[in-house]
Subunit: 375 residues, 2 copies
């Protein structure tokens, strides 16, 4: 008796939500290569090259730059739980879902959390962050570079400087920005950063590129209690991902790392400046095309991310039920766009033009479909 196969052919969707974005053929092909063992010298050499590629996109010399074996949210948790001990103070900037998630992760790690809020759709006020940092003298300051729930791009420099002047470690969420906008860990003085593979790197979700500074590693060494998570413990991860002899910690996700290697190849071949320019141009083209259709950008032009555009919806779209219209886009045009999260659910759409999808022809395909469904 043969059961019904679980895996039927997969439709070709154009993924213009907040991630995953579409992966190029080279990334998909890479994931279908034969498996190697996680201690095979050939695989370890590949891991080394991936680490080198990640250092390039993160603009850092940090040796502890590696693909964590879980998604971006686990990268966030790794950054927090390695640097925080119960009772440590942390200042978290919150202007969307992911800042809020950082605060929650820190609370669960036993931190005393001070949040600095900004209205969703606006950037954090560096002055307000600086004041909180001076008042609280936290061990860690953490905030989001590219807030995936709102499409806001956060200037990093001033807040990072305030934090370092107060002797705090700086954690930066680069999930949506990495490989789509300049991320300058060393120039900004970031101590722990994390990202995801399924956004501007255009790989499949499943890995979280992370990077830790020497200062962060020093902090981990001087902890009085072990890191609460064995899986995310940086000193244990180092035994596999760094150091002269590679020792088993957990079994690395072989195929996902093949995919990331192929994705990084493509990023480095294009070159970061060209890639950033492509994202900027695509974002502008999208907003220019959406406004005549009655969509209104949530975020002021100066704070707007190019790879994720949040828009308030035209009345005639809301009347039809925004979720219904998204379902029609998916069913009839094979185009996915994202809805709002939290207080913005039902209020906005989030349209991603990430990695491979940051191209004028992609923008035009979406605009044409929107004109049809709104006709």
């Amino acid at each position: 008796m043969r059961p019904m196969p679980i895996l039927k052919p997969i439709r070709e969707r154009l993924l213009l939500g907040p991630g995953p974005s579409n992966a190029p053929a080279s990334v998909l092909e890479a994931m279908s290569r034969p498996l190697l063992g996680h201690l095979d010298p050939e695989f370890l050499a590949l891991v080394d090259r991936v680490k080198e590629g990640l250092r390039t996109v993160f603009s850092t010399a940090n040796p502890m730059t590696l693909p964590l074996s879980a998604t971006g949210s686990a990268g966030m948790e790794a950054a927090i739980v390695n640097l925080i001990e119960p009772g440590d103070r942390i200042v978290v900037g919150v202007n969307g879902v992911f800042g809020g998630r950082m605060a929650e992760v820190a609370r669960r790690a036993g931190a005393e959390v001070t949040t600095v809020e900004a209205r969703w759709g606006t950037a954090l006020d560096p002055q307000a962050m600086a004041e909180a940092i001076r008042r609280v003298t936290p061990r860690v300051v953490s905030f989001v570079h590219a807030e995936t729930s709102t499409g806001v791009c956060q200037p990093v420099d001033d807040i990072a400087r305030s934090a370092r002047e107060a002797g705090a470690l700086v954690v930066l969420d680069c999930v949506t920005s990495l490989a789509g906008r300049p991320v300058e860990l060393d120039a900004w003085g970031i101590d722990a950063a994390y990202s995801g593979t399924q956004k501007c790197l255009s790989c499949s979700p499943g890995l979280s590129p992370v990077s830790f500074s020497e200062r962060a590693l020093e902090r981990v060494k001087t902890r009085t209690r072990p890191v609460q998570s064995w899986y995310l413990d940086l000193s244990l991860l180092a035994s596999y991902f760094a150091g002269a002899k590679r020792v088993y910690h957990h079994t690395a996700p072989i195929s996902a790392i093949y995919g990331l290697a192929a994705g990084l190849d493509r990023v480095l071949e294009e070159g970061l400046p060209a890639r950033f320019a492509r994202h900027t141009a695509a974002g502008r083209r999208l907003v220019a095309g959406l406004e005549p259709l009655g969509f209104e950008p949530l975020v002021a032009e100066t704070d707007r991310l190019p790879m994720l555009t949040s828009v308030r919806l035209p009345a005639r779209l809301r009347e039809r039920g925004e979720a219904n219209v998204r379902a029609r886009l998916l069913d009839e045009f094979d185009i996915e766009v994202g809805g709002g999260l939290g207080p913005l659910a039902g209020e906005i759409w989030r349209i991603g033009l990430m990695g491979e999808n940051a191209r004028p022809e992609v923008v035009d395909r979406l605009l044409e479909a929107l004109r049809k469904v709104l006709a």
Copy 2:
């Protein structure tokens, strides 16, 4: 300037270590399919089918049976941190690396840990476990079904019964056993179990199939403190993986889940009894072929796993340096076998015949290569 490509062609290795095993072509091909969004109805339907397939291999009706978005060690951590609060007592059976890891994960979660040790290479003594359980009255009892560091198969029934009689929840590590030997969560009365995809399921590493009983979910609901890990919090995972409306928690690893779906298709098509018989036969053929070459099984026949055989090494192999011989097997024959872990490093090899590799022709290829390198 075109950088050197990170991803060169991958060699075809025969993976006879403790995992990953070789994935069949259908699994590799599945991972190269176009990406879907993690909230796409087509993908959510696939996740439902995967959950159903996992319930079959786990022999359980548990609704909370799902592929966790990280490797088996994170599955272990999920089982422990959801059921344990600081100060809770746990009894852990330790007869190898993975029992020891469970104890360490529990300590980091704040548990009062009592270990019951058995010599590596032997099974836990159910009587000793029962006595510790009566003495400690723990909230959780945890042990390993198939100890990947030694190749010991643990009878589950008696220990699980003792635990339940004492009102404890039972956690079982099924990383190496799942889909290669009967795993009977409901019949045994297991409350939390976890596995990996890269062993007898013959998929790529990166996901951890987990299953939680109603009793376990009840325990999570009555916790006084939130689960220390946001990423592994069962009640948050339930919002995406179960329930009527699927809500975003983290971005599911799309391609890895395609691969698991294809792997489960193949398991269910073969049928579990046939698959178990194939593993048993392959393990016997291997031991019968190894003994004349001077390898000596570490584990008594009654406690021996068929899919992972631990053997002490012949003198002429030790003389050449066991790591050198393994390197030769890899370089000249493209065959990977595993070394020992912890106190067994340098003492034993671990030879896996998992999933696709549990076949007589695979055994014979290894034996022939061994005869050549030992000649």
